[in-house]
Every structure is written in C-alpha cells, then in structure tokens.
C-alpha cells in the first residue's frame, strides 16, 4: 500500500512534465549562472562554491515541494488517499521519500559535476556530495510540513519558501561549512551535526505533515 503511493509519486515526478527534471535543470542553471555573475576569479569561486551549490540545491528542491500535497488535494486524490488503509503520517512519509528520490538524490548525484566546474578539489567534492546526500532528506522532510500547511492556499507556493527556508538554515550552514572546512584542511563536526539534524527532521516531519494534512482536509 505504501509502495503503491511511493511508486505512483515517483512515476508522476519522472514522467513528461514532472518535477524531477525541472529541479535538476534549475539546480544546474543557477550553479552555472553564478560564475558568470561573480567573474573568473578562481579563488573567489572556490570560496563561494559550497554555499552556492547548497543554496541552489535547497531552492531547486523547494521548487517542486509546493505541489507535494496540493496537486492531490485539488484533484480529489487526497480524499481517496485519506480513506485508504494508510495513516496520513505514513502518506506523508511516502511522499517525502518519493520527493527525495526524485529531487534530492538526483541533485546529489549531479553535484560532483558542478563542483568540478567551480574548481573544487576532489576531497572537497567528496565532502560536498556526502553533505548533500545527508542533508537533502531534511529539505524534503521539512519542506513537506510547509507543503502540507499551505496546500489549501491558492498561492501557497509563494508562502512555502518563507515558512521553510528559515528552518533549513542549519542544513545550509552545516552542509556548506563541512565543505569549507575540508577546503581549509580542518577537521570539523559539521557533517555529524548535519546528520543529526537530518535524522531528527526526517523522523519527526511525517507526524507534523500528517497532522497538517488532517487539519486541511477537515477545514
């Protein structure tokens, strides 16, 4: 039953007009545009690389999050999903997993290529990729809470980033910080903090998102 929802959401995201390719293209476009704006100072690019790639990844993931529940809410699917044997918390968990598999994971896999474009050394690219792999589930999970809260608002997509971006600040700080420390040859606990943050948010978010969906369905 949870597999049915997971595979349907993955199918919807990856089929023509789905959000997966869009998020990936957005990520690549922002990461390519920044060097054009900053200029060809390689040392400067190296300093900003981790921050730019992390912010671009978060924004790219947010791009598709506003429809996470809204699309199903608007076409009546969410009523039917709510009447299924799955609890709304399980539904939220399945949707978070599907969102991560179709945006967070592809973004992580693309990030080494963009890291090379910014001139990051191999060690730092490894840390960048690892930090995105650890941190992007938190983006999907916290984003799902915002998506569930705003699903009945017509322009919810505009409010969602305002709700979610402040909550994602720790992920960006620790994620980019880990890469920065690797560049400076320092050891840091940033990846561990990032992992703790990701585990806590990923485990707790389905409950918050499920409660928000319940609230919106009854409203």
């Amino acid at each position: 039953m949870i597999g049915a929802l997971l595979s349907r959401d993955i199918r919807l995201a990856t089929r023509a007009g789905g959000s997966a390719a869009l998020a990936l293209a957005f990520f690549a476009a922002v990461a390519t545009l920044v060097p054009l704006g900053v200029g060809v100072d390689l040392r400067l690019l190296l300093r900003v690389a981790a921050g730019v790639l992390w912010v671009a990844a978060v924004l790219a993931a947010l791009l598709s999050l506003d429809r996470l529940f809204q699309a199903d809410f608007e076409d009546g699917s969410l009523d039917l999903i709510a009447l299924s044997p799955l609890s709304l918390e399980t539904v939220a968990a399945a949707k978070i997993a599907a969102h991560w598999l179709t945006t967070g994971l592809p973004l992580t896999l693309l990030s080494p290529v963009l890291g090379v474009m910014f001139g990051l050394p191999p060690g730092a690219i490894g840390v960048l990729t690892l930090s995105l792999a650890i941190g992007t589930p938190a983006v999907s999970a916290l984003g799902a809470i915002g998506a569930a809260l705003t699903m009945s608002i017509r322009r919810g997509g505009l409010i969602l980033p305002l709700l979610v971006l402040p909550l994602l600040a720790p992920a960006v700080i620790f994620g980019a910080g880990a890469v920065q420390a690797a560049l400076d040859g320092l050891s840091s606990g940033a990846l561990l903090f990032l992992a703790a943050f990701a585990v806590a948010t990923t485990l707790l978010s389905p409950f918050a998102a499920g409660a928000a969906v319940r609230l919106n369905l009854a409203g």
């Binding site: 919807l12 009546g76 009523d79 039917l80 709510a82 009447l83 369905l217």
Partner: protein
C-alpha cells in the same frame, strides 16, 4: 428537519443475508455490515449550521438519495459520513451483528468515495489510476473487468489528460468497484454522464446493493434505482 420517506424495498434485498460481505474475502472489512445508523448529527461549517439533529438509518442492500437545493449541505454530510469532516455533534454507527462501530477512522476504512473531483492524474492512464487505487486499498480487484464495466476498455492505455469529463466520471465509477468497500458515498454520480454512462453507473449501484452494500448518493436527479430519499433543508 429532515424527513425520511421509505420507497419500495428492492426485491433482491435479501441477497445480502445469503452472500454476506465482503464477497472476495479480503480487505479489512470483516463481519457482515447490517446498517449505517446516524443519530442527531449536526454539521457546522464556517460558523454556519448546515444541518442539525439529523437522524436516519440505511440498511445493507439499500440506496439512500440525498436531495435538496445547492449549498444545503449534501456534500458536507457525505464528507462527515466518510469521516473526512468531523461532526459538530451526533453519532454515526456501523452496525454489524451485535457490534456498533462509531469511530470515524474505522468508518473511513469501509468507505468508497466518489467526489466532484475525479482524481484522474493527467499523466497516468485509466489502467494505471485503477491499479494504483487497488494497490493503495490493498485489494486484488480485476482492473480489466472494472474498466470494461464502465466502457473504458478501449482507452485504458490513453493518458487521462485526453479523457472527457464524462470519461473521467466513468473512471471514478470504476474506482468504486476496484476499492471493494461496503459503503459507497457518491456526490453527483450521474453528472456529465451520457446515457450509456448512466446505465453503467446504475448497473454498478445495483450490483453493489445486491451483494449487501450500502449506497448513499447526493443527487439532483432521480438515480433510477429504488431508493429511500432524504430531503435536506426541507423543514428548516
């Protein structure tokens, strides 16, 4: 405020006593559902009382049609019955044998829903939509048979984006069959259907009540099956 006037009892109503529910023996519906009993139900939406102290009962194998002008609360009543909306007051009990279930979450697991929105994802085909709902509800329903029953067999693999409103409604009707639930809650089941579509809908409803199911439909036009009628807002 609401009057329940009994119409003729369908001749096949005793079928449920022989066959019981569920027919296929899977899903989480256990025991034989005898009736849905609503007592003193009150629904409030946005400071406004839609209906107050509504009391009625639907026996297994019967159809109840909800009637009344627009905005009187037919859809809200269906949502409350489904457990999607909380009731302001009153109880809804599912009676089977000597047990009465009153929990909204338990009731939600026995309901097949047809709302105004068709839940037909434009990117998916009718076959994919139906097999998704069958898997989501944990049934092993025959998807091809359900598609054939509503006349969608020929376009089963065409993306729903290309379906007309009537075809999407047919798909929603096929979904009722696929989710294998004893209580069907239908909001305007006949809207945008052509003559053949209406006939398919009536055949589905008739088959469902023959096997001891319950059908509650909000409608502005006669369903075409023997049903009891509940006028909402009649004596307000």
């Amino acid at each position: 405020m609401a009057g329940l006037d009994p119409a003729t009892r369908p001749a096949h109503v005793s079928a449920r006593k022989r066959l019981g529910w569920p027919l296929r023996g899977h899903g989480d519906v256990t025991g034989q559902l005898q009736s849905l009993d609503v007592q003193q139900l009150t629904c409030v939406r946005g400071q406004r009382v839609l209906f107050r102290d509504l009391t009625f009962r639907v026996d297994a194998g019967r159809v109840l049609s909800l009637e009344g002008p627009n905005g009187v609360g037919k859809s809200s009543l269906l949502r409350v019955l489904a457990g999607l909306l909380p009731a302001a007051a009153g109880t809804i009990a599912l009676i089977s044998g000597s047990t009465a279930e009153i929990d909204a979450d338990d009731r939600a697991r026995k309901v097949a829903w047809l709302g105004h929105n068709d839940a037909a994802k434009p990117q998916l085909t009718p076959r994919e939509v139906l097999s998704f709902f069958a898997r989501l509800y944990g049934t092993r329903a025959d998807i091809d048979a359900a598609l054939a029953a509503v006349g969608l067999a020929k376009i089963a693999d065409l993306a729903c984006a290309y379906l007309s409103a009537g075809q999407k409604k047919r798909l929603a009707l096929a979904r009722l069959k696929v989710v294998e639930r004893p209580i069907w809650l239908l909001d305007e089941p006949l809207s945008s259907l052509d003559t053949d579509g209406r006939k398919a809908a009536l055949d589905l409803v008739n088959a469902h009540i023959m096997f001891g199911g319950i059908v509650i439909a909000a409608t502005h036009e006669p369903l075409g099956v023997a049903s009891e009628r509940l006028m909402l807002g009649a004596a307000a």
